[in-house]
Symmetry: C2
Subunit: 341 residues, 2 copies
């Protein structure tokens, strides 16, 4: 496994395979990191410290990566791409602050979450302020398509989160519902990053649509990976509290697959374990061949999405940034394989 020069990218330990695809845009990503850090100065001195804490934890910067690679794949990278990358990451960081409240999460990126440190009230407002600031930056683009797409995506991300919260502990949740939810809460922001990266490069609409679709699929596959990680990962490696989805009643693809494949008798037992959030027992079942390996099946589903995403790029030919987008799929696939039981 290659060691990345990007300290933010290696901070969470899963970024090894990903680090390869960061290379073509490393200069711009460093600038994105500097610009994100510099955002604290845009806030009132009284709240600067909280903002710095919320945005300072590093992270994989996958959404900025997608914005930059998509921009580079379709034209010449400029300051507009960096602005876009900063905005999509800030929206993501704002949603993380609110997510951690929902999940009562204690740790993220190996440090206490904002809610664990300063309580829920302050976290609600800190998320709001980050979110408002990101949309604020979006209105600086003169092309209103960009600010509109970002604002619509923000609404979609929040709506997805809300439906997910509403459907907690709901054993009626179908695979279709699950895909709709993760498409909204994660796929849409990945899609927005890739779409607008190409828009800023002045790419033709068909190319923009291809990149948007790539982003949506990769984002969805990434969310499946993240959901599998929650039941099959290691806390030491990921730096965050695991098993959270199960404890908070979020029914993710591996669990839905398990419930689907269980026999009527088993299903009742599985449902109880899931509703009671018995992480160890559920993890064992997920990896059990008698349940047809629900974890492996979920990994397969994500891998299929990655292949579709890559196939959609093929007509665009090849260049350094397109190759890196293709490589992003490979890297995600590699990460998924590491979770196999």
């Amino acid at each position: 496994m290659k060691i990345s020069a990007n300290s933010a990218a290696t901070a969470n330990g899963v970024a090894g395979p990903l680090s390869r695809v960061f290379e073509p845009v490393q200069t711009q990503l460093d600038e994105v990191d500097r610009r994100i850090t510099a955002q604290t100065a845009a806030f009132d001195p009284a709240i600067e410290g909280y903002v710095a804490y919320a945005i300072g934890g590093g992270g994989k910067r996958l959404r900025p990566l997608l914005a930059l690679l998509s921009g580079g794949a379709t034209g010449s990278l400029g300051s507009g791409h960096v602005d876009l990358a900063v905005i999509v990451e800030l929206i993501h960081l704002a949603t993380l602050v609110h997510d951690d409240i929902m999940d009562e999460a204690e740790r993220r990126r190996s440090q206490p979450t904002v809610n664990a440190r300063w309580g829920n009230s302050l976290s609600v407002l800190l998320g709001d302020v980050l979110f408002a600031h990101a949309l604020n930056l979006a209105t600086d683009f003169d092309d209103t398509r960009i600010s509109r797409t970002i604002a619509r995506t923000a609404t979609e991300v929040c709506s997805g989160e809300m439906i997910q919260t509403q459907r907690r502990f709901d054993l009626q949740l179908s695979r279709e519902d699950y895909f709709r939810i993760i498409g909204m809460k994660t796929g849409s922001l990945f899609a927005c990053a890739a779409e607008l990266g190409a828009v800023i490069s002045g790419a033709p609409e068909e190319t923009v649509a291809r990149l948007k679709s790539f982003g949506a699929r990769i984002g969805t596959a990434y969310q499946i990976y993240d959901d599998c990680l929650d039941v099959a990962g290691s806390e030491a490696e990921t730096g965050k509290t695991l098993g959270t989805d199960l404890r908070k009643g979020k029914l993710t693809l591996p669990v839905l697959t398990l419930l689907e494949s269980a026999s009527t008798f088993d299903r009742e037992r599985c449902c109880s374990l899931v509703l009671e959030g018995k992480l160890e027992e559920v993890t064992a079942l997920l990896q059990n061949s008698s349940t047809d390996g629900a974890l492996d099946k979920s990994i397969e589903t994500a891998a299929e999405l990655i292949r579709e995403a890559q196939a959609g790029l093929a007509p665009l030919g090849t260049n350094q940034h397109l190759d890196a987008l293709f490589g992003l799929g490979e890297a995600l696939h590699e990460l998924l394989e590491q979770l196999r039981s």
Copy 2:
């Protein structure tokens, strides 16, 4: 006291004196109400019901009123003004949802708050979704000045809320801090409504600045009124839980004035009562002449702000809408006088 035709305006019982100034823009305000109700359709069916509940409680519509009167005072009212009015009200409604979480409030506008009904997690996300949607609508304006001003104001409102939360139970809070906080959390959105109403009418910059300043002062005076109401109002008349500021450690103008005017010996006792949130005792002290009537002094401060706001409009001459803006000051003054001890 005249009975208004606007049911939303009378729903909370304080709008009697205010109803007069609604008249010149009643047609547009009815349209604003219809448009706000119609916004639910913009959301995913799964969350429509929550959105309808959060935005359906009526309310005084003061920010839409200001947007419309300012627009009418400086030009001809059109659909852009109605759009603006809808957006500023949605931002306000989003902040109310999150405020009620902070305050653990049980009732607003005589019905259970969103958090009382569906819990904090869902309320956090519902506030987010309303907020994102409002900023989304703002990007529909072709004039980027409008979406930029709205996005910047949203950041300011959230920052003000955050500083207020951070300074709870902080007896070091000065009057200056208080005015900065309420200027951000309330004054800025009133200012934005009045400013952009005039911008949409194509008013000259000096006129825009006068209306913005009017909005900022009236908004600040209104917040002082609301803060006085919390210690001196009646729950039956306001339809919301009172004494909340004190219980949650928000030091408002009447309380700050009380602490300032208390002798060293009394100050210690006052501080204890305030920190312990003893509403009855504090209310009695606020109305006590031995403390120089801290409530009356606060009312005086708000009245002075109203006079300054009105004086700033004088150079603009007179027309039906300008008169109503002037009358808004009078009505607010009348409401303040009703709280006198």
